[in-house]
Amino acid sequence: MQKTPLISAKDVDVFYAKKQALDKITLDIPEHKVTSLIGPSGCGKTTFLRCINRMNDLVDICRVAGEIKIMGQDIYAPEVDVVALRANVGMVFQKPNPFPKSIFDNVAYGPKIHGLAKTKGDMEEMVEWSLRKAGLWEEVKDRLAETGTGLSGGQQQRLCIARAIAVKPKVILMDEPCSALDPIATAIIEELIDELRKKFTIIIVTHSMQQAARVSQRTAFFHMGILVESGATKSLFTAPQDERTQNYITGRIG
Protein backbone atom coordinates (compact mmCIF):
# COMPACT_ATOMS: atom_id res chain seq x y z
CA MET A 1 0.00 0.00 0.00
CA GLN A 2 2.80 2.40 0.95
CA LYS A 3 6.10 2.82 -0.80
CA THR A 4 9.27 2.19 1.20
CA PRO A 5 9.69 4.72 3.98
CA LEU A 6 12.40 7.34 3.65
CA ILE A 7 13.53 6.83 7.20
CA SER A 8 13.14 3.70 9.20
CA ALA A 9 14.26 3.35 12.79
CA LYS A 10 14.61 -0.08 14.30
CA ASP A 11 15.10 -0.88 17.98
CA VAL A 12 16.74 2.44 18.77
CA ASP A 13 18.04 2.71 22.33
CA VAL A 14 19.62 5.89 23.66
CA PHE A 15 21.50 6.18 26.90
CA TYR A 16 22.75 9.29 28.66
CA ALA A 17 25.54 7.81 30.74
CA LYS A 18 23.67 5.08 32.65
CA LYS A 19 20.22 6.52 32.17
CA GLN A 20 18.15 5.09 29.34
CA ALA A 21 16.32 7.82 27.44
CA LEU A 22 14.85 5.78 24.58
CA ASP A 23 13.87 2.14 24.63
CA LYS A 24 13.53 0.07 21.45
CA ILE A 25 12.04 2.73 19.21
CA THR A 26 10.87 1.35 15.89
CA LEU A 27 9.29 3.86 13.54
CA ASP A 28 8.95 4.41 9.82
CA ILE A 29 8.76 7.89 8.37
CA PRO A 30 7.37 8.31 4.86
CA GLU A 31 8.69 10.73 2.29
CA HIS A 32 7.06 14.12 1.57
CA LYS A 33 4.89 13.96 4.64
CA VAL A 34 4.99 15.80 7.92
CA THR A 35 5.46 13.49 10.88
CA SER A 36 4.83 14.87 14.37
CA LEU A 37 6.48 13.50 17.45
CA ILE A 38 4.34 14.25 20.47
CA GLY A 39 4.38 13.35 24.12
CA PRO A 40 4.89 14.83 27.57
CA SER A 41 8.11 16.62 28.53
CA GLY A 42 11.06 14.29 28.94
CA CYS A 43 9.44 11.51 26.93
CA GLY A 44 12.38 11.30 24.53
CA LYS A 45 10.84 12.86 21.44
CA THR A 46 13.57 15.47 21.06
CA THR A 47 16.23 12.85 21.76
CA PHE A 48 14.83 10.74 18.95
CA LEU A 49 14.75 13.73 16.62
CA ARG A 50 18.38 14.52 17.35
CA CYS A 51 19.31 10.91 16.58
CA ILE A 52 18.17 11.36 13.00
CA ASN A 53 20.99 13.73 12.10
CA ARG A 54 23.28 12.49 14.82
CA MET A 55 23.30 15.73 16.79
CA ASN A 56 23.55 13.49 19.83
CA ASP A 57 27.14 12.79 18.79
CA LEU A 58 27.96 16.17 20.29
CA VAL A 59 26.93 14.99 23.74
CA ASP A 60 29.85 13.08 25.20
CA ILE A 61 27.85 10.86 27.50
CA CYS A 62 25.27 9.92 24.89
CA ARG A 63 25.26 6.44 23.37
CA VAL A 64 22.95 5.23 20.61
CA ALA A 65 22.19 1.58 19.80
CA GLY A 66 19.93 0.02 17.15
CA GLU A 67 19.72 1.29 13.61
CA ILE A 68 18.27 4.24 11.78
CA LYS A 69 18.19 3.90 8.01
CA ILE A 70 17.74 6.80 5.68
CA MET A 71 17.20 5.76 2.06
CA GLY A 72 18.36 2.31 3.08
CA GLN A 73 21.64 3.47 4.58
CA ASP A 74 22.21 2.92 8.30
CA ILE A 75 23.34 6.36 9.43
CA TYR A 76 25.19 4.99 12.46
CA ALA A 77 27.31 2.70 10.30
CA PRO A 78 31.02 3.47 10.54
CA GLU A 79 31.30 4.34 6.86
CA VAL A 80 28.84 7.19 7.19
CA ASP A 81 30.21 10.71 7.17
CA VAL A 82 28.26 12.76 9.64
CA VAL A 83 28.97 15.97 7.72
CA ALA A 84 27.37 14.53 4.60
CA LEU A 85 24.50 13.15 6.65
CA ARG A 86 23.72 16.51 8.20
CA ALA A 87 23.88 18.18 4.81
CA ASN A 88 20.95 15.93 3.91
CA VAL A 89 19.14 16.10 7.21
CA GLY A 90 18.77 19.72 8.24
CA MET A 91 17.57 20.99 11.56
CA VAL A 92 15.53 23.89 12.89
CA PHE A 93 15.81 24.53 16.61
CA GLN A 94 13.45 25.45 19.39
CA LYS A 95 14.74 28.98 19.78
CA PRO A 96 15.51 30.87 16.58
CA ASN A 97 19.30 30.94 16.36
CA PRO A 98 20.37 33.02 13.39
CA PHE A 99 24.10 33.70 13.19
CA PRO A 100 25.18 37.22 14.06
CA LYS A 101 25.71 37.85 10.37
CA SER A 102 23.70 39.51 7.62
CA ILE A 103 20.48 37.91 6.42
CA PHE A 104 22.16 37.04 3.15
CA ASP A 105 25.16 35.44 4.85
CA ASN A 106 22.90 33.45 7.14
CA VAL A 107 21.21 31.78 4.20
CA ALA A 108 24.37 31.56 2.14
CA TYR A 109 26.22 29.82 4.97
CA GLY A 110 25.21 26.26 4.09
CA PRO A 111 25.76 26.50 0.33
CA LYS A 112 29.11 28.13 1.04
CA ILE A 113 30.47 25.45 3.35
CA HIS A 114 29.19 22.65 1.15
CA GLY A 115 30.46 24.35 -1.98
CA LEU A 116 27.09 24.33 -3.72
CA ALA A 117 27.30 27.66 -5.52
CA LYS A 118 29.80 28.08 -8.32
CA THR A 119 29.32 31.77 -8.92
CA LYS A 120 28.09 34.82 -7.11
CA GLY A 121 24.98 34.73 -9.27
CA ASP A 122 24.33 31.13 -8.27
CA MET A 123 24.57 32.08 -4.64
CA GLU A 124 22.21 35.02 -4.98
CA GLU A 125 19.77 32.79 -6.77
CA MET A 126 19.98 30.17 -4.04
CA VAL A 127 19.49 32.70 -1.28
CA GLU A 128 16.47 34.17 -3.02
CA TRP A 129 15.01 30.72 -3.65
CA SER A 130 15.44 29.74 0.00
CA LEU A 131 14.03 32.96 1.34
CA ARG A 132 11.04 32.69 -1.03
CA LYS A 133 10.45 29.11 0.05
CA ALA A 134 10.62 30.23 3.68
CA GLY A 135 8.11 32.98 2.91
CA LEU A 136 10.51 35.66 4.01
CA TRP A 137 11.67 37.11 0.69
CA GLU A 138 9.12 39.90 0.40
CA GLU A 139 9.87 41.08 3.92
CA VAL A 140 13.65 41.15 3.71
CA LYS A 141 14.58 41.52 0.04
CA ASP A 142 15.52 45.16 0.54
CA ARG A 143 17.67 44.61 3.61
CA LEU A 144 19.63 41.46 2.93
CA ALA A 145 22.76 43.13 4.29
CA GLU A 146 21.20 43.81 7.67
CA THR A 147 22.00 41.51 10.52
CA GLY A 148 19.73 38.50 11.00
CA THR A 149 19.46 39.01 14.73
CA GLY A 150 17.60 42.26 14.13
CA LEU A 151 14.51 40.49 12.77
CA SER A 152 11.42 39.67 14.82
CA GLY A 153 11.20 36.24 16.45
CA GLY A 154 8.95 34.78 13.77
CA GLN A 155 11.07 36.22 11.00
CA GLN A 156 14.20 34.87 12.67
CA GLN A 157 12.71 31.39 12.76
CA ARG A 158 11.77 31.61 9.08
CA LEU A 159 15.31 32.79 8.40
CA CYS A 160 16.55 29.66 10.17
CA ILE A 161 14.23 27.58 7.99
CA ALA A 162 15.56 29.34 4.90
CA ARG A 163 19.08 28.64 6.12
CA ALA A 164 18.24 24.96 6.59
CA ILE A 165 16.61 24.49 3.19
CA ALA A 166 19.31 26.38 1.30
CA VAL A 167 21.42 23.21 1.13
CA LYS A 168 18.40 21.29 -0.20
CA PRO A 169 18.33 18.55 2.38
CA LYS A 170 16.10 15.51 2.04
CA VAL A 171 14.76 15.83 5.56
CA ILE A 172 14.15 18.78 7.84
CA LEU A 173 14.00 18.15 11.56
CA MET A 174 12.10 20.74 13.56
CA ASP A 175 12.42 20.83 17.31
CA GLU A 176 9.38 22.72 18.64
CA PRO A 177 9.98 25.47 16.08
CA CYS A 178 7.08 27.60 17.28
CA SER A 179 7.46 27.35 21.03
CA ALA A 180 9.17 30.73 21.26
CA LEU A 181 6.74 32.47 18.90
CA ASP A 182 3.42 34.28 19.18
CA PRO A 183 0.25 32.82 17.61
CA ILE A 184 0.42 34.88 14.42
CA ALA A 185 4.03 33.95 13.76
CA THR A 186 3.14 30.36 14.61
CA ALA A 187 0.34 30.32 12.05
CA ILE A 188 2.69 31.60 9.36
CA ILE A 189 5.26 28.91 10.16
CA GLU A 190 2.60 26.20 10.18
CA GLU A 191 1.42 27.27 6.74
CA LEU A 192 5.01 27.23 5.61
CA ILE A 193 5.55 23.71 6.90
CA ASP A 194 2.61 22.50 4.88
CA GLU A 195 4.07 24.17 1.81
CA LEU A 196 7.55 22.77 2.41
CA ARG A 197 6.47 19.15 2.57
CA LYS A 198 6.07 19.12 -1.18
CA LYS A 199 9.82 19.33 -1.52
CA PHE A 200 11.06 17.98 1.80
CA THR A 201 10.25 15.37 4.36
CA ILE A 202 9.57 17.02 7.68
CA ILE A 203 9.71 15.66 11.20
CA ILE A 204 8.46 18.01 13.83
CA VAL A 205 8.57 17.74 17.59
CA THR A 206 5.74 19.62 19.19
CA HIS A 207 4.19 20.16 22.55
CA SER A 208 0.91 21.22 21.08
CA MET A 209 -1.50 18.52 19.98
CA GLN A 210 -3.44 21.08 18.01
CA GLN A 211 -0.32 21.91 16.08
CA ALA A 212 0.36 18.25 15.42
CA ALA A 213 -3.20 17.84 14.20
CA ARG A 214 -2.95 20.91 11.98
CA VAL A 215 0.37 20.34 10.28
CA SER A 216 1.11 16.64 10.22
CA GLN A 217 -0.13 13.68 8.28
CA ARG A 218 1.41 11.18 10.62
CA THR A 219 1.96 11.31 14.37
CA ALA A 220 4.00 9.29 16.81
CA PHE A 221 3.29 9.41 20.52
CA PHE A 222 6.21 8.97 22.92
CA HIS A 223 5.88 8.31 26.60
CA MET A 224 8.69 7.74 29.09
CA GLY A 225 11.21 6.72 26.47
CA ILE A 226 9.02 4.35 24.54
CA LEU A 227 7.03 4.81 21.37
CA VAL A 228 3.50 4.09 22.47
CA GLU A 229 1.67 4.48 19.23
CA SER A 230 2.11 5.85 15.74
CA GLY A 231 -0.04 6.17 12.68
CA ALA A 232 -2.01 8.58 10.58
CA THR A 233 -2.60 11.76 12.52
CA LYS A 234 -6.35 11.68 12.06
CA SER A 235 -6.80 8.16 13.33
CA LEU A 236 -4.37 8.63 16.21
CA PHE A 237 -6.30 11.60 17.48
CA THR A 238 -9.78 10.22 16.87
CA ALA A 239 -9.28 6.58 17.68
CA PRO A 240 -6.18 6.03 19.77
CA GLN A 241 -5.32 2.38 20.28
CA ASP A 242 -3.48 2.76 23.55
CA GLU A 243 -4.89 3.98 26.82
CA ARG A 244 -1.86 6.23 27.43
CA THR A 245 -2.38 7.97 24.10
CA GLN A 246 -5.99 8.39 25.00
CA ASN A 247 -5.06 9.91 28.35
CA TYR A 248 -2.54 12.25 26.79
CA ILE A 249 -4.74 13.61 24.04
CA THR A 250 -7.58 14.13 26.42
CA GLY A 251 -5.23 16.03 28.69
CA ARG A 252 -4.94 13.56 31.56
CA ILE A 253 -1.18 13.20 31.34
CA GLY A 254 1.37 15.68 30.15
Binding site: N88, F99, G110, K112
Partner: protein
Protein backbone atom coordinates in the same frame (compact mmCIF):
# COMPACT_ATOMS: atom_id res chain seq x y z
CA UNK B 1 13.48 53.48 89.51
CA UNK B 2 10.58 51.19 89.03
CA UNK B 3 8.90 53.37 86.43
CA UNK B 4 12.13 53.58 84.45
CA UNK B 5 12.41 49.83 84.31
CA UNK B 6 8.92 49.56 83.01
CA UNK B 7 9.39 52.11 80.25
CA UNK B 8 12.54 50.38 79.13
CA UNK B 9 10.84 47.04 78.93
CA UNK B 10 7.82 48.32 77.19
CA UNK B 11 9.47 50.43 74.53
CA UNK B 12 11.13 48.97 71.48
CA UNK B 13 14.75 49.76 71.37
CA UNK B 14 14.97 50.66 67.73
CA UNK B 15 18.13 52.73 67.86
CA UNK B 16 21.58 51.39 68.38
CA UNK B 17 23.64 52.54 71.30
CA UNK B 18 25.66 55.68 70.76
CA UNK B 19 28.93 53.85 70.93
CA UNK B 20 28.12 51.26 68.33
CA UNK B 21 26.64 53.99 66.18
CA UNK B 22 29.94 55.85 66.31
CA UNK B 23 31.78 52.61 65.49
CA UNK B 24 29.55 52.11 62.46
CA UNK B 25 30.32 55.60 61.25
CA UNK B 26 34.04 55.05 61.65
CA UNK B 27 33.89 51.72 59.81
CA UNK B 28 31.87 53.24 57.01
CA UNK B 29 34.25 56.14 56.70
CA UNK B 30 37.21 53.76 56.58
CA UNK B 31 35.50 51.82 53.80
CA UNK B 32 34.78 54.91 51.74
CA UNK B 33 38.34 56.14 52.17
CA UNK B 34 39.72 52.75 51.15
CA UNK B 35 37.60 52.74 48.02
CA UNK B 36 38.82 56.23 47.23
CA UNK B 37 42.45 55.10 47.43
CA UNK B 38 42.04 53.65 43.96
CA UNK B 39 40.96 57.05 42.66
CA UNK B 40 43.67 58.77 44.63
CA UNK B 41 46.31 56.52 43.06
CA UNK B 42 45.16 57.43 39.59
CA UNK B 43 45.12 61.10 40.44
CA UNK B 44 48.52 60.74 42.08
CA UNK B 45 49.94 59.11 38.99
CA UNK B 46 48.54 61.76 36.69
CA UNK B 47 49.60 64.68 38.88
CA UNK B 48 53.09 63.45 39.62
CA UNK B 49 53.79 62.59 36.00
CA UNK B 50 52.26 65.84 34.76
CA UNK B 51 54.14 67.99 37.24
CA UNK B 52 57.58 66.60 36.41
CA UNK B 53 56.77 66.38 32.71
CA UNK B 54 55.81 70.06 32.63
CA UNK B 55 59.15 70.90 34.21
CA UNK B 56 60.75 68.92 31.42
CA UNK B 57 58.82 70.70 28.72
CA UNK B 58 60.02 74.02 30.12
CA UNK B 59 63.51 72.92 29.16
CA UNK B 60 62.78 71.00 25.99
CA UNK B 61 59.97 72.15 23.70
CA UNK B 62 57.11 69.72 23.33
CA UNK B 63 57.41 69.67 19.56
CA UNK B 64 61.08 68.72 19.74
CA UNK B 65 60.26 65.90 22.14
CA UNK B 66 57.51 64.56 19.94
CA UNK B 67 58.96 65.00 16.46
CA UNK B 68 62.72 64.94 16.71
CA UNK B 69 64.30 61.69 15.66
CA UNK B 70 67.34 61.62 17.86
CA UNK B 71 67.54 60.43 21.46
CA UNK B 72 70.75 60.87 23.42
CA UNK B 73 70.08 62.27 26.86
CA UNK B 74 73.61 63.25 27.86
CA UNK B 75 74.22 64.95 31.12
CA UNK B 76 76.50 67.88 31.14
CA UNK B 77 79.78 67.12 32.86
CA UNK B 78 80.37 70.83 33.17
CA UNK B 79 77.67 73.44 32.95
CA UNK B 80 79.55 75.39 30.34
CA UNK B 81 79.89 72.41 28.07
CA UNK B 82 78.64 72.81 24.55
CA UNK B 83 75.67 70.72 23.51
CA UNK B 84 75.35 69.52 27.05
CA UNK B 85 71.63 69.45 26.87
CA UNK B 86 71.36 66.19 24.94
CA UNK B 87 68.82 65.23 22.33
CA UNK B 88 65.31 64.34 23.42
CA UNK B 89 63.47 63.10 20.35
CA UNK B 90 61.09 60.38 21.35
CA UNK B 91 60.55 58.92 17.88
CA UNK B 92 63.26 56.23 18.05
CA UNK B 93 61.95 55.10 21.44
CA UNK B 94 58.47 54.96 20.04
CA UNK B 95 59.47 52.92 17.03
CA UNK B 96 61.59 50.64 19.20
CA UNK B 97 58.67 50.04 21.54
CA UNK B 98 56.38 49.39 18.61
CA UNK B 99 58.86 47.04 16.94
CA UNK B 100 59.31 44.87 20.02
CA UNK B 101 55.59 44.92 20.85
CA UNK B 102 54.75 44.02 17.27
CA UNK B 103 57.12 41.04 17.36
CA UNK B 104 55.59 39.99 20.67
CA UNK B 105 52.09 40.24 19.25
CA UNK B 106 53.11 38.28 16.16
CA UNK B 107 54.22 35.47 18.46
CA UNK B 108 51.42 35.68 20.98
CA UNK B 109 48.40 36.24 18.74
CA UNK B 110 48.51 33.00 16.73
CA UNK B 111 49.72 30.90 19.65
CA UNK B 112 47.29 32.46 22.12
CA UNK B 113 44.29 32.30 19.82
CA UNK B 114 44.98 28.76 18.63
CA UNK B 115 45.40 27.64 22.24
CA UNK B 116 42.19 29.38 23.27
CA UNK B 117 40.20 27.83 20.42
CA UNK B 118 41.57 24.39 21.12
CA UNK B 119 40.89 24.63 24.84
CA UNK B 120 37.41 26.07 24.42
CA UNK B 121 36.22 23.95 21.51
CA UNK B 122 38.14 20.69 21.36
CA UNK B 123 39.87 19.84 24.61
CA UNK B 124 38.21 17.45 27.00
CA UNK B 125 37.48 18.73 30.45
CA UNK B 126 40.43 16.80 31.83
CA UNK B 127 42.85 18.28 29.31
CA UNK B 128 41.50 21.75 30.02
CA UNK B 129 41.89 21.25 33.74
CA UNK B 130 45.61 20.73 33.51
CA UNK B 131 46.57 22.71 30.39
CA UNK B 132 44.93 25.95 31.47
CA UNK B 133 46.83 26.25 34.76
CA UNK B 134 50.03 25.27 32.94
CA UNK B 135 49.56 28.14 30.50
CA UNK B 136 48.75 30.48 33.38
CA UNK B 137 52.16 29.66 34.84
CA UNK B 138 53.63 31.57 31.90
CA UNK B 139 51.86 34.67 33.15
CA UNK B 140 52.91 34.08 36.74
CA UNK B 141 56.64 33.89 36.13
CA UNK B 142 58.28 37.19 37.08
CA UNK B 143 59.34 39.29 34.14
CA UNK B 144 62.89 39.49 35.43
CA UNK B 145 63.14 35.75 34.83
CA UNK B 146 62.03 36.21 31.21
CA UNK B 147 64.52 39.03 30.89
CA UNK B 148 67.33 36.82 32.14
CA UNK B 149 66.33 34.02 29.81
CA UNK B 150 66.00 36.40 26.85
CA UNK B 151 69.37 38.03 27.45
CA UNK B 152 71.40 34.97 28.31
CA UNK B 153 69.84 32.14 26.34
CA UNK B 154 67.57 33.38 23.55
CA UNK B 155 69.62 36.36 22.35
CA UNK B 156 72.90 34.41 21.99
CA UNK B 157 70.99 31.62 20.27
CA UNK B 158 69.42 34.01 17.75
CA UNK B 159 72.75 35.68 17.21
CA UNK B 160 74.47 32.36 16.58
CA UNK B 161 71.73 31.15 14.24
CA UNK B 162 71.74 34.45 12.39
CA UNK B 163 75.50 34.45 12.02
CA UNK B 164 75.40 30.92 10.70
CA UNK B 165 72.92 32.07 8.10
CA UNK B 166 75.19 34.97 7.23
CA UNK B 167 73.04 37.62 8.87
CA UNK B 168 74.37 40.32 11.07
CA UNK B 169 72.58 40.09 14.40
CA UNK B 170 73.14 42.48 17.23
CA UNK B 171 73.76 40.86 20.60
CA UNK B 172 70.79 42.74 21.99
CA UNK B 173 68.33 42.24 19.17
CA UNK B 174 64.73 43.37 19.17
CA UNK B 175 63.85 39.87 18.05
CA UNK B 176 65.03 38.18 21.25
CA UNK B 177 63.17 40.57 23.51
CA UNK B 178 60.02 40.48 21.37
CA UNK B 179 60.01 36.71 21.08
CA UNK B 180 60.26 36.13 24.81
CA UNK B 181 57.75 38.88 25.55
CA UNK B 182 55.38 37.22 23.10
CA UNK B 183 55.55 33.97 25.03
CA UNK B 184 54.88 35.85 28.23
CA UNK B 185 51.63 37.37 26.96
CA UNK B 186 50.26 34.15 25.42
CA UNK B 187 48.20 33.33 28.52
CA UNK B 188 46.78 36.85 28.57
CA UNK B 189 45.37 36.37 25.08
CA UNK B 190 44.42 32.74 25.51
CA UNK B 191 42.53 33.07 28.76
CA UNK B 192 40.60 36.19 27.75
CA UNK B 193 39.77 34.74 24.34
CA UNK B 194 38.83 31.45 25.95
CA UNK B 195 36.29 33.27 28.13
CA UNK B 196 34.93 35.11 25.13
CA UNK B 197 34.58 31.94 23.06
CA UNK B 198 32.87 30.14 25.91
CA UNK B 199 30.33 32.95 26.10
CA UNK B 200 29.05 32.14 22.60
CA UNK B 201 25.76 30.30 23.08
CA UNK B 202 25.73 26.60 22.25
CA UNK B 203 22.80 27.34 19.91
CA UNK B 204 25.23 28.96 17.46
CA UNK B 205 27.34 25.81 17.33
CA UNK B 206 24.25 23.59 17.05
CA UNK B 207 22.93 25.64 14.16
CA UNK B 208 26.16 25.38 12.23
CA UNK B 209 26.94 21.76 13.04
CA UNK B 210 23.32 20.81 12.36
CA UNK B 211 23.76 21.99 8.79
CA UNK B 212 26.73 19.74 8.24
CA UNK B 213 29.50 22.21 8.91
CA UNK B 214 32.63 20.65 10.36
CA UNK B 215 33.73 21.85 13.75
CA UNK B 216 36.57 23.94 12.34
CA UNK B 217 34.23 25.53 9.79
CA UNK B 218 31.92 26.39 12.66
CA UNK B 219 34.78 27.96 14.57
CA UNK B 220 36.19 29.87 11.62
CA UNK B 221 32.95 31.06 10.05
CA UNK B 222 30.58 31.45 13.00
CA UNK B 223 32.32 31.55 16.35
CA UNK B 224 35.38 33.63 15.58
CA UNK B 225 33.45 36.27 13.63
CA UNK B 226 30.93 36.44 16.45
CA UNK B 227 33.68 36.84 19.03
CA UNK B 228 35.75 39.28 17.02
CA UNK B 229 35.11 42.29 19.28
CA UNK B 230 35.95 40.33 22.40
CA UNK B 231 39.09 38.93 20.85
CA UNK B 232 40.09 42.38 19.66
CA UNK B 233 39.68 43.55 23.24
CA UNK B 234 41.96 40.83 24.52
CA UNK B 235 44.56 41.63 21.88
CA UNK B 236 44.50 45.32 22.82
CA UNK B 237 44.99 44.43 26.45
CA UNK B 238 47.91 42.21 25.51
CA UNK B 239 49.40 44.97 23.36
CA UNK B 240 49.13 47.39 26.23
CA UNK B 241 50.90 44.89 28.43
CA UNK B 242 53.66 44.51 25.85
CA UNK B 243 54.15 48.26 25.52
CA UNK B 244 54.43 48.69 29.27
CA UNK B 245 56.65 45.68 29.88
CA UNK B 246 59.93 46.76 31.38
CA UNK B 247 62.31 44.10 32.64
CA UNK B 248 62.51 42.02 29.48
CA UNK B 249 63.48 45.03 27.40
CA UNK B 250 65.81 46.46 30.01
CA UNK B 251 67.70 43.18 30.13
CA UNK B 252 67.45 41.99 26.54
CA UNK B 253 66.86 45.00 24.27
CA UNK B 254 69.50 47.41 25.41
CA UNK B 255 69.72 51.17 25.27
CA UNK B 256 70.76 51.97 21.71
CA UNK B 257 68.17 54.39 20.35
CA UNK B 258 68.25 53.19 16.76
CA UNK B 259 65.58 54.24 14.35
CA UNK B 260 65.09 50.94 12.55
CA UNK B 261 62.53 48.36 11.62
CA UNK B 262 65.06 45.56 11.43
CA UNK B 263 64.30 43.07 14.21
CA UNK B 264 67.91 41.87 14.20
CA UNK B 265 69.22 45.24 15.31
CA UNK B 266 69.25 46.63 18.81
CA UNK B 267 66.50 49.08 19.67
CA UNK B 268 65.44 50.65 22.90
CA UNK B 269 62.02 51.28 24.36
CA UNK B 270 60.28 53.89 26.45
CA UNK B 271 60.36 51.69 29.54
CA UNK B 272 64.00 50.72 29.13
CA UNK B 273 64.93 54.40 28.88
CA UNK B 274 62.93 55.29 31.98
CA UNK B 275 64.90 52.70 33.92
CA UNK B 276 68.19 53.86 32.44
CA UNK B 277 67.43 57.49 33.23
CA UNK B 278 66.31 56.95 36.79
CA UNK B 279 68.67 54.35 38.15
CA UNK B 280 71.86 55.79 39.41
CA UNK B 281 72.34 59.41 40.40
CA UNK B 282 69.50 61.78 39.85
CA UNK B 283 69.31 65.51 39.82
CA UNK B 284 65.77 66.63 39.78
CA UNK B 285 66.45 69.74 37.79
CA UNK B 286 68.21 68.11 34.87
CA UNK B 287 66.36 67.54 31.65
CA UNK B 288 67.72 64.02 31.63
CA UNK B 289 66.00 62.99 34.82
CA UNK B 290 62.82 64.90 34.07
CA UNK B 291 62.56 63.37 30.63
CA UNK B 292 61.86 60.02 32.30
CA UNK B 293 58.62 61.47 33.63
CA UNK B 294 57.65 62.80 30.23
CA UNK B 295 58.20 59.28 28.89
CA UNK B 296 56.25 57.86 31.81
CA UNK B 297 53.37 60.19 31.09
CA UNK B 298 53.29 59.10 27.45
CA UNK B 299 53.40 55.47 28.46
CA UNK B 300 50.59 55.98 30.94
CA UNK B 301 48.37 57.74 28.43
CA UNK B 302 48.94 55.17 25.69
CA UNK B 303 48.30 52.18 27.93
CA UNK B 304 45.34 53.87 29.60
CA UNK B 305 43.67 54.49 26.26
CA UNK B 306 44.32 50.92 25.11
CA UNK B 307 43.04 49.47 28.39
CA UNK B 308 39.98 51.65 28.44
CA UNK B 309 39.01 50.75 24.90
CA UNK B 310 39.59 47.06 25.43
CA UNK B 311 37.70 46.94 28.71
CA UNK B 312 34.79 48.73 27.06
CA UNK B 313 34.76 46.36 24.12
CA UNK B 314 34.94 43.27 26.28
CA UNK B 315 32.22 44.53 28.60
CA UNK B 316 29.91 45.45 25.76
CA UNK B 317 30.55 42.10 24.17
CA UNK B 318 29.67 40.22 27.35
CA UNK B 319 26.41 42.09 27.66
CA UNK B 320 25.49 41.10 24.11
CA UNK B 321 25.01 37.49 25.09
CA UNK B 322 23.66 37.99 28.60
Amino acid sequence: MASEDITQENSFNITLGNRSKLMEHIVKLAMVLSALVAVAVTIGIVLSLMFEALEFFKKIPFSEFLFSIEWSPQTALRTDQVAAEGKFGVIPLFTGTLLISAIAMCVATPLGLASAVFLAEYASKRTRDWVKPMLEILAGIPTVVYGFFAALTVAPFIRMTGNNMGLEVSSESALAAGLVMGIMIIPLISSLSDDVINAVPQAMRDASLGMGATHSETVKKVILPATLPGIAGSLLLAASRAIGETMIVVMAAGLAANLTANPLEAVTTITAQIVALLTGDQEFDSAKTLSAFALGLMLFIVTLVLNYISLRIVKKYREQYD
